[in-house]
Amino acid sequence: MLLGIFNKNKFNKKLENSIKEFNNDLSKYKLSKKIDENLKLLKSIFKNNENLKIRKIVNSSNPKIFCYIVFMNGMIDPKIINDNIIKSFSTENLKGKKNIFDTVLTETMQVNELKKSEDVRQIVEAIASGDTVLLLDKEKKVIILNTRGYDYRSISEPESEKILAGPREGFTESLIVNISLLQRKFRTPQLKTKYMGIGKTTNTNVCVCYIESVVNKDVLNEVFRRLKKIDIDAVLDSNYLLELIDDKNYSPFARVHTSERPDVIVGKLLEGRVAILVDGTPVVLTVPLLFIENFQSPEDYYLRADYSSIARIIRIIGFFLTICTPAFYVAVESFHQEMIPTALFINMAIEREGAPLPTSLEIIVMLIIFELLKETGIRMPTKVGDALSIVGALVIGQAAVEAELVAAPMLIVVGITGISSLLVPKLNSSVIIYRFLILTFTIFLGFLGFILGLSIMIINILNQKSFGVSQVERMESWNPQDIKDQIIRRGWRNMVKRPGYLTNNEIRQGKNR
């Protein structure tokens, strides 16, 4: 115990030191008037990084006027550097110009985005993210030129969220491209974007997007507050942020929505939510998350409302089926045999005759085998996956029953559980946890345990808040507009207002008739 506290303190001290070291590292440096010293400084900062390229450019009109450009190889667009920086600088007539720095800044450089800077930290950041830094002699400042250009995956439909109707585009790994995918949908200045760097080592670009007129200011402030508190070395995927900004809570249900589809994210923004985009990942986060969003599919809004409502109801049934079926089976089969219709019960009893394991153990084994199969299937290349599913179906299904290792009704139960779990991919992890929890309760207490477990789950769902907004709206606060996009989706004509618990600016549309 004591040792633990001691170690923790030691660790904290170490952490503090390393943070200090890292921050001081750059802020203690200052640019000088001598270009050689400045170059030396940059070289020492990027020590051992052979990607850093430094090139000297001499002006043709006066060989005494020269500059150095510093950039990171691979992060830049060579065409801009060749044509718009090197060519411009060497051919420009700088002879007799009084202030060469300003001339270069305003006239010579033919680059869309450029600025001057004295801050070593900013300069280093710029080089690291693909900008080119231009150093002039006898100047205590440098010019940062936008020459970013690197390859990224082209826009394609996300594999994980394929739909039949609606837009086919998906986010890529580039933050700029992702923002542009959102901006394209607005031809108004309504979309707001706020950038920040998160991660001490990676300084990953993170962008918070929202729509000024509809966003819930409380949620927005909360998002910024939580993002600013993050202190981590690297952010490689939005899930890092998802976990770090999430409420401290042991509930397995998600409180942050994730999607790879721009249309989905814009839809969420328009209801007053806040989106968080992270450079390097196509997965975008939105908060707050209402529980019903787990059952919503982008397709719901691209197909007829009545059809979408049916699909949504089926998804909700699937959610309860996949959680409850195994436990219900155990309760009925091992505790309350009088509940089953006689003919069905006799058939079940006949099938169970000769099965070596008790029902409770059998179902746990089968569920674990199912999870194994599912997990291997997901990680396998498609062709291997197909073979795997055949082996799984044959081995687990037919052979096990024929060898009388498991009873046939068990396979049906596991089958229903498995199939219906695919209906709500967003809730996969929570579903597994509650399935086993309720099952365990049921094995000990029968239906009593079943209801107990189910109650725990429902209380959990009802109690959850995402960024201060409760995930399931309580009866007392319901107004008819709020429930038009819940279990049943009404047509667009009927959804006159935005959900009131997400935004204060509720009116979505005028009279359409």
Partner: protein, 374 residues
């Protein structure tokens, strides 16, 4: 802290208060579908259980049944005794029928044998009780079922169907027996099963009812007698009726709707009961059709049926009155419900008084349809 402890305690209590939290694997139980109660030579109860034989049942041969017999001085003792032969627990939740030996019903009464079944937590209160028309109740379980290998379930199907198919008997459930035995001014009738021989096979068949005086069986009633008594009991929901015509031909009608209104008149210490039968029926079969079917024929036939019903019902009631059967028609209950004070006076020697009651049957028959297609 105290509050938390209280909440914790309160949430733990339900576990101990519930009665159904014990794990009972399907392989640990023997499913009993029906049972027969007889007496053995030592005057002990001999129970014969029809159970599902899980080892012999499979997809090809269907469900197989076998029998377990046991003896005991009381029913529970006999049930426990069965564990000597059947190692697993006898499970009564899916039991549908109890067959009682007619001698036991006559000599010992139902109260003694039904007590266990009412108290047991697994036995359904909707279980059907029947009387064996055979000497040995267990022999019914040896019969062969048509389209159902479980003979108990076959009997159940026959009983459930009887009130709207052939009116040979009536369906009585365990809880109804208790209600009737403890009720005011009503006596019990139970269905009776017999075996019939068709070539080599023996099948079960419904053969009428057994009338009870209090909880002891008095006598058997035939299927034909039962049929007309059911009108007095207002238990007719459908079924066919064979009307014997004067020229010895038959007219078969199907009852479409029937409602019997029971009323009585108490004057000068004399009771008179009126049974107003409102029946709607369809003509289904005419064995000797001479006349053209028209409005006149229908009117005549309605009259004929009314007369026939009146005769038969009055005859049947007269018969049970003469035989000394108590009030199985539940007339006393009718008085008890409408005039409790009067019932208090009549109650004392109702069993005797019942045989002197005058009954007047007034049928009103409407032929809705003659199913006649030229």
């Amino acid at each position: 802290m105290k509050k938390r402890l209280l909440v914790l305690l309160l949430s733990i209590f339900p576990f101990f208060l519930t009665g159904c939290w014990s794990y009972l694997g399907v392989d640990e139980i023997t499913i009993v579908t029906g049972l027969a109660i007889d007496k053995d030579e030592n005057e002990n109860y001999k129970l014969t259980f029809e159970v599902i034989d899980l080892t012999k049942s499979n997809k090809e041969t269907g469900i197989a049944v076998s029998q377990v017999t046991s003896n005991g001085e009381t029913i529970l003792e006999a049930v426990r005794d069965a564990r000597r032969t059947s190692s697993s627990k006898l499970y009564f939740s899916h039991t549908q029928i109890i067959i009682v030996n007619s001698e036991i019903a006559q000599n010992e009464g139902l109260n003694a044998i039904m007590n266990f079944f009412i108290r047991d937590e697994n036995v359904r209160e909707t279980i059907k009780v029947v009387i064996s028309g055979e000497e040995n109740a267990a022999s019914l379980l040896n019969a062969k079922g048509i389209t159902n290998s479980i003979i108990s379930y076959k009997m159940l199907e026959i009983i459930e169907d009887v009130e709207d198919s052939n009116l040979y008997s009536t369906e009585v459930q365990l809880y109804e027996i208790i209600n009737i035995l403890n009720g005011e001014g009503m006596e019990l009738i139970l269905p009776v099963f017999k075996k019939v021989q068709v070539e080599e096979n023996e099948y079960v068949s419904l053969s009428g009812t057994a009338a009870f005086n209090k909880d002891k069986m008095h006598s058997f009633l035939t299927a034909e007698e039962t049929k007309y008594l059911l009108f007095a009991l207002d238990k007719v929901e459908g079924g066919v009726l064979n009307v014997n015509m004067e020229d010895e031909s038959n007219l078969v009608i199907e009852i479409y709707k029937n409602k019997t209104k029971i009323d009585y008149e108490y004057k000068n210490d004399m009771l008179k009961f009126f049974l107003d039968i409102n029946m709607q029926c369809l003509v289904r079969e005419i064995t000797n059709q001479k006349q053209k079917i028209d409005g006149e024929w229908i009117q005549q036939t309605e009259k004929l049926i009314e007369q026939f019903l009146k005769n038969e019902i009055e005859k049947s009631i007269k018969k049970i009155q003469e035989e000394g059967i108590y009030d199985i028609l539940r007339f006393g209950n009718k008085i008890y419900k409408t005039e409790p004070k009067l019932w208090e006076n009549l109650k004392k020697d109702w069993d005797k008084k019942f045989s002197t009651i005058e009954v007047e049957v007034n049928p009103k028959v409407i032929i809705k349809n003659t199913s006649f297609t030229k």
